[in-house]
């Protein structure tokens, strides 16, 4: 392994995507393979942990072999093996972690366990190589909603998070009650894009209130509206809901940037693939004279390339993770700080 050419093979199995990627030097994606389990969870209207865990085992070989093939690499070429070790579903996390540890053992290379949220924050760097702290990141998906201030490499301060549902969870629940199927995010995004967003209005929750989020009340408001006005076009309701969510996410991200003085805002996570959110973040950052880093959609949703980037950085900061490391379903981001 040389400092110039460090090849990281990473796995991401924390929720419902089975992913493997090879990234060189923490900057160059040699391959990034994601096998989605969406169809397996669709009949249940949400991610079922046991179904996800079984699917990860079934899909693991395929993503590994494909990632190596697309990178034109063999396992012997790999310098570091990594996996997201938390937070997430414990039975799912241990698939990627067990694979990475076993490969590291057999090939006598370091293993690095990575925080899933830190990986989301690192994803942006693949397309914005000059991105350096300080910056604030909004990580928003079906499992997480938080704003963190990165003050130095690997050093993050959580400024706000959801007090109940994750934003992506609210998308799924609202999509279900509007009969839009699963997953809800893309369905609402698509439908809302076709109509003016202000035919139906919902109050953005906790808008004027600090940096924490709450989405369960908004979900209830949509349900009540839908019951009271069953004839209202579903697209109008979906657009109104999405607008409220986007408004609160962007407002708090900009508030966090103002409070910290950070010159750059970053987004990541599955909900960061939402068209309206992406446009609103760029617009708000422009207006405030800040830089917005909005990674391509494939880097926002769960993937292993982001895990590889985070592993590259973590290895330099902390050294390898011991092989008796486990999985951490509720790992707080603050545990990463020295």
């Amino acid at each position: 392994m040389t400092a110039q050419h460090q090849l990281v093979l990473a796995f991401e199995t924390s929720c419902d995507e089975t992913a493997a990627a090879l990234v060189a030097d923490g900057t160059m994606v040699r391959s990034s393979v994601v096998a989605t389990q969406t169809a397996r969870h669709a009949p249940f209207g949400g991610v079922v942990p046991e179904v996800a865990s079984r699917a990860h085992v079934e899909l693991l070989d395929e993503v590994l072999v494909q990632a190596l093939g697309e990178a034109g690499a063999t396992l012997a070429d790999v310098d570091v093996f990594a996996a997201a070790h938390g937070p997430g579903l414990s039975g799912a996390l241990l698939v990627g972690v067990s694979a990475a540890k076993a490969l590291a053992l057999a090939l006598e290379r370091p293993y690095v366990g990575v925080h899933h949220h830190e990986a989301h924050m690192c994803a942006a760097r693949l397309e914005a190589p000059d991105l350096a702290p300080p910056f604030v990141t909004l990580v928003v998906s079906g499992g997480h909603t938080l704003i963190a201030h990165t003050t130095a490499p690997g050093r993050h301060e959580v400024l706000g998070q959801t007090v109940d549902d994750a934003a992506g969870e609210a998308f799924d629940k609202v999509a279900r009650l509007l009969g839009l199927g699963y997953p809800g995010g893309p369905a609402i995004d698509e439908l809302a894009g076709r109509v003016a967003a202000d035919a139906v209005r919902f109050t953005p929750p906790m808008l004027d209130d600090g940096l924490d989020f709450s989405f369960s009340g908004l979900k209830t408001a949509v349900l009540r509206h839908h019951r009271e006005h069953p004839d209202r076009p579903v697209a109008d309701v979906a657009a109104g809901f999405q607008r409220a969510v986007v408004q609160v996410l962007v407002t708090k991200l900009m508030r966090a940037a103002a409070a910290t003085g950070a010159p750059t805002v970053v987004i990541g996570g599955g909900v960061a693939a939402n068209s309206a959110l992406r446009a609103a973040v760029v617009e708000a950052a422009d207006a405030a004279g800040l830089r917005a880093v909005v990674p391509s959609r494939a880097l926002c949703t769960d993937n292993a390339a982001m895990v590889a980037v985070a592993a590259h950085e973590r290895l330099a900061l902390d050294g390898p993770t011991p092989l008796d490391d486990g999985v951490y379903p509720n790992l707080p981001l603050s545990t990463l700080n020295p």
């Binding site: 249940f44 079922v48 865990s53 067990s98 694979a99 076993a102 053992l105 486990g326």
Partner: protein, 236 residues
């Protein structure tokens, strides 16, 4: 040929190195009981590392990975199966996938009983089980791997009216279900856990016959579907 054997189908974490001539060494952590929380994810890779160091075997000298594929504890099975897959990819060697119940029955192949019945605790008052007959040189499975209640197993044993040896952690846990049946004997705690020596024995024999598979073809034998799937099926 040296085989690396992995069994994490119960709360115990086990690995062994051996050849057709027997074990070179084994490590077994925790036990089939419930005194401590299982730590499969944390313990398996370090156990293999220690085993190699203490036996002086390099993983590069291993010719096949043998893995106990269940039925058993879902989490444990996944750690064992995924570790076996990854090692097989890394070392470019095949996998021998062995059902866990075979590993409980095999050490009792010299029993004078008409049948050997391993039971693995499946929780929720159920056991994974299968019927085996001791035959010259081994045991022969008679029927499928099943998920049953201890009472179902007891009723089946009574109906068969033959001398039976019941073993495995399920036999200890549900001993009461077999009380009063004079034709049923229970094996003791020595036969509670799947045998790592059996895994090496069976894997060497299978590997010699070419009965191996690619890592991608190894899947855990769950026998029980997820609660969500059962609930969905019940609704429709």
């Amino acid at each position: 040929m040296i085989v690396l054997a992995i069994d994490t189908a119960t709360r115990r974490v086990g690995c062994a190195l051996g050849t057709a001539d027997g074990l070179l060494g084994e490590i077994a952590l925790g036990h089939a009981g419930k005194a401590t929380a299982p730590r499969h994810t944390e313990q398996l890779t370090p156990a293999i590392e220690t085993l190699c160091a203490q036996t002086g075997v390099s993983l590069r000298d291993v010719g096949a990975i043998a893995v106990s594929i269940g039925p058993g504890m879902f989490t444990g099975l996944r750690v064992g199966v995924v570790t076996a897959k990854a090692l097989a990819h890394a070392l470019a060697v095949p996998v021998v996938a062995v059902p866990t119940l075979d590993l409980v029955a095999w050490p009792l192949r010299y029993a004078r009983h008409a049948c050997v019945v391993p039971l693995i605790d499946a929780r929720r008052n159920e056991v994974y089980c299968a019927w085996y007959r001791p035959v010259p040189g081994g045991v022969q499975r008679d029927g499928d791997y099943q998920l049953l209640t201890p009472d179902d197993v007891a009723a089946e044993l009574t109906a068969r009216r033959e001398l039976a040896l019941v073993c495995g952690d399920g036999a200890l846990r549900f001993a009461a279900a077999f009380e009063g049946d004079d034709l049923v004997e229970l094996a003791g705690p020595d036969h509670a856990a799947p045998s790592l020596a059996a895994l090496v024995d069976l894997a060497c024999a299978r590997a010699a016959r070419g009965d191996v598979c690619a890592p991608a073809d190894v899947v855990p034998m769950y026998l029980r579907r997820s609660d969500a799937e059962l609930a969905l099926e019940a609704r429709s």
